[in-house]
Amino acid sequence: MSMTIDEKLGIDKFHVDEGYAHIEVNKGASESDIKLLTRACPAGLYKYSEGVLTFDYAGCFECGTCKVLSADRVVKKWSFPKGSFGVEYRHG
């Protein structure tokens, strides 16, 4: 029952705020800083391929890992989603 991380996120419930990205990233950050987040982000939202960072805030657990590791480097802005938006754990 090995699943990819995106398949796992597909099972979770998110109220995505389409109009507001609560995290903004710096695509010009160093490769080593970006790769650190590809390993540490529990939702696997930092993806790096062929030298390009892609990031989608939609599956975010709002845990703060990327903020603690990379504030002002890869992470340009970090805030919580607005009230009632974001991940909603049904079990926790």
Binding site: M1, S2, M3, I5, K8, L9, I11, D12, H15, L36, T38, R39, A40, C41, P42, A43, G44, F61, E62, C63, G64, T65, K67, V68, L69, A71, S79, F80, P81, K82, G83, S84, G86, V87, E88, Y89, R90, H91, G92
Partner: protein, 428 residues
Amino acid sequence: MADKFNVIVVGGGVAGCVTALMLAREGLEVVLVERGNYSGAKNMTGGRLYSYSLERVIPDFASVAPVERRVVRERISMMTEKSATTIEYLSDALKQNGSDSYTVLRASFDRWLCQQAEAAGAMHIAGMLVEDLIINDGKVCGIIAGGDEILADVVVLADGANSQLMERAGLRTKPIKPSEIAVGVKELIELGAKTIEDRFNVASGEGLSWLCAGYPSGGKIGGGLIYTNKDSISIGVVVTLSEFNETELSINDMLENFKRHSVIAPLINGGKLLEYSGHLVAEAGFSALAKPSGSGVLAVGDAAGFVMNLGYTIRGMDLAVSSAIAAAKTIVAARDNLSDINALDGYKGNLEAEGVLADMKHYSNFPSFMENHRIFGEYPEMIDGLLADLFVMNGSKPRSLVSKLLSAANKVGVLNIVGDAIKGVRSL
């Protein structure tokens, strides 16, 4: 809404709900503000709730609260990729009221706790993010939420390990360092009650806690965990953030490796993933905190760093409850002069009285002891080497037990082992 509350509690987790409950019982006007659509919506646990703390607030809570299973089987393992060495402890003492512990799932448990606070008279606002604190002349006087100002004599920060308000309140003077905090991921895997009871050898309503060092975290500081719930198991991995500088594995790789381990795979075989979650674990504890209270503000639970990772167990929710009790006592004692700038100065003394600080201080060297890489990398290999010598028979020439011990120990260095043993015992 009232013009001004006595107390605003930010965050509807265990610490926030218990604080609101106790204050409402004393007749204070208290509002609990939660950014999720219900208490627990943003919360997850990779641990269990030791009952002694909540028993003091809600006696016999386990008979009415949505708990999962009482933990009666404690297991710890040292794991390498191909082996596991396990210690298991069972005792009637683990089943006694007040010294027992329960697995819980936070979406249901926190919601129940919040309902208790509401029933006692606390006001509850869900789906509202607290964006900022109102601070006048150094005193916290309220919050800004949803663009509106809400005033109070006291603001209690119960907004968790990833609190965005602790620094603003002046309770944390420096940002959290990657070496002071860990990230945990968890899968909730449905197996059904009967399968759980068969596979983990537990009776109905009873369960197991299992912490694994070594391989689950790729030999880095951290570990793997398994807890049994009613119909599902929680399986997860926790890793200190600074460790990701020293590994090629992602946290999800580590979890998948752990799940594929030959000791674990049969236990979760055929299960269905119900939820995947992630959260920070404030594991450097209280030492990472500037102070627990200021003028008009105090911090409880994870926000204040009241978490202890001792390797064989992780404590957080019981400390959340105990710190909430201390916070409520502080506020109630000062209820007639809550607007004084020094009204909350008694909090530290109450944290001492509730045992929170004593526990944190007693184990204060343990986080740095656990930072020793030998514990997660070399010791599991050493123990595997020793036990393989004892148990794996392949016709080779026998050696004395002493030489087996020494050959396993020499790989790590005998002096290192002695030194680590002394440090480990002292830090406990």
